[in-house]
Amino acid sequence: MGDQTEKKKLSRRDFLKMGGLVGVATQVIAVPALGFKEAASKESHTGWESFHEENTQFFNRKPFELKGGIDELYEKNFPTTGPNSRPNQMVDMPFVRQDRVMGAIAQNPEWKPEDGREALNLGPDLDAYYAHYEERGQNRFTDDITVPTVNIPAWVANHETYDDHFALSLAYFGAWSEHAGYPPEITEPPDVTDYRYFEHGHAVDIREVNKARDERGMRLKFKSPEHAAELIKKAAHLYGASVVGITTMDPKFAYSSIRGMGPSKDAAPVEDASDEDAAAAAAAAAGGGAAPEGGMPQMGDDPVPEHWKFVVVLGVPHEWEQFVSNPQYGDSLDAYNRARMAGWRLANFVKRLGYASRWHCPPMSYDMVVTPFAVQAGIGEWGRCACVISPELGGNVRFSVVTTELEMAIDQPIDIGVTDFCKDCKICAEVCPSASISFADNTEGINSRGIEHWDINNSTCYGYWMESMGPIGCRLCIAACPYSRKDNWVHGVARVLDPIDPTGLFNDSLIWMQKTLFDAPEASEYKRPPDGCFASYRPAPDWLNVENWFTITPPDPHDLCN
């Protein structure tokens, strides 16, 4: 009897021991499998989960808000190095700048590069711009004339050879571009457009609507700025924004020419370049202007409308599969146009509540530089690649903006450690095929318009746009950024632990892991032959590979690397 009891006890123990082993085996197989499944799910494509805020803006920013708000942000991260001046599209945008330079060259057919830029009489605004960067050791004038004279002819020839390989990418993004100009560009002043919406094709002035509501005692006054902020953010998400933040207007980041205002619409060529006053006047009419002492030149210097008190910033990501196959298979147009629609819808929503507002949307329909406002609104931090790096989307985010008179509770800028991370990481600078991103250890000496911050050489950057294959552009820096990762638990752990680690060890470990584990082509491989082979950061997704769908086998530029 005693022996039988002992046998039973032993049997139970053995059962539990074997059960324990089976349990461990089950968990060892199941947990990694679940991790695999979660990561493979399209629901991990941050910003594409749904349009509800808790799904796309899931990072709790509260613990990382700067206590000193916007003042602390600028004191700490963007110190003032000289007089501030407003950005000027006529010189800051490489496309516009190069058009002006090439126009000047066309007017001076005898001009040779060795004559120098001074011989072209580009105007005081461009001269000041180029001189500023020459002081920083960059010859952006040479970079600018290289694009149309060297890059574009080679680009055209390479497209003739390789376009068939990129036929699907070109078709996909070409379709996005169909409505790149919709809604149509604003051509009337803010006093008109910001107070008007259209109902069944008829213009409605919100001042009249408000007047009628006042008479009924039904004016839509919010209970509090907090109520206003909550509702506007809710609507912004539902209109298509993945991340939303609210801040106040700072006129120094508004373009010196406001859409629908100013003389820039009547741009005049420089008739007599030998007459300095006439040239300056013509340049001013063309959008240039006298440079403030020590600062960059002004454009139209249009006043920033007083009713632009608050700024809502809406962020939208690129589709992730094509995003990681940049620079050859991706494009900016998908996120641009989703952001454009979201911004336009939100501005109209705010107007219909009775508050003046204006949309500012990609590709180029802006009255301001967006990055500072996105940083102020706590969407992310200013990264080495001069892009906003957000906790949810990394650098994979494109913005639209709504400026409005509606008073809302504002968000605070955040410090999640991006600034420190960027100082050590430098991956974007390492992969950049045009060497446009600085390798400097910090932003000292890197400044524009009187503010110190990371910036890039947008002349050489744009030069590479005119070198890459497939749809236009590059986006490699944001694709390679360690913060540009999907929404799965591994990256979630990194998102949570990195900002709260005071030792910096986690920061260093992440950089080490990124550089050790994640292979990427060398910077030169992204270039055109013979220097490179039009490499991509990651291969094209199956759905953008023409050979998977069609009966053709076009020349593949990547074969040049094999």
């Binding site: 499944k37 990561a39 050790t516």
Partner: protein
């Protein structure tokens, strides 16, 4: 999805949770067999190591799932030896009080 109508993930997590009971019950018996006397801090060390072990196994496969297969395999080659070595270290720690009692 299961037959296209049911998300099987929930059931798998349910099973993973349920077998945790077996894992703990089995561990008690294995520790008894090894002559290890468990205290609260030894249980804490064991549980923490086991969670890290599971996460260390899951992380590489998560990278593979998101399309970074090369990074996943490299990570597995790195984490597996680390987990095994730390496993032995934890086992030595669990033995600490036991050896004294035997003496």
């Amino acid at each position: 999805m299961f037959f296209g109508v049911f998300d099987f993930t929930f059931v798998v997590w349910l099973i993973v949770g349920a077998v945790s009971v077996l894992v703990v019950m089995g561990a008690i018996e294995w520790f008894k067999d090894a002559g290890i006397t468990m205290s609260w801090w030894k249980w804490l060390v064991s549980v923490v190591w086991y969670i890290i072990f599971l996460m260390g196994m899951a992380a590489p496969f998560t990278l593979m799932g998101e399309g970074e297969a090369a990074a996943g395999w490299k990570m597995l080659l790195f984490t597996l030896p680390v987990l095994i070595i730390t496993g032995f270290a934890v086992y030595r720690i669990l033995k600490i009080g036991t050896e004294k009692k035997k003496a």
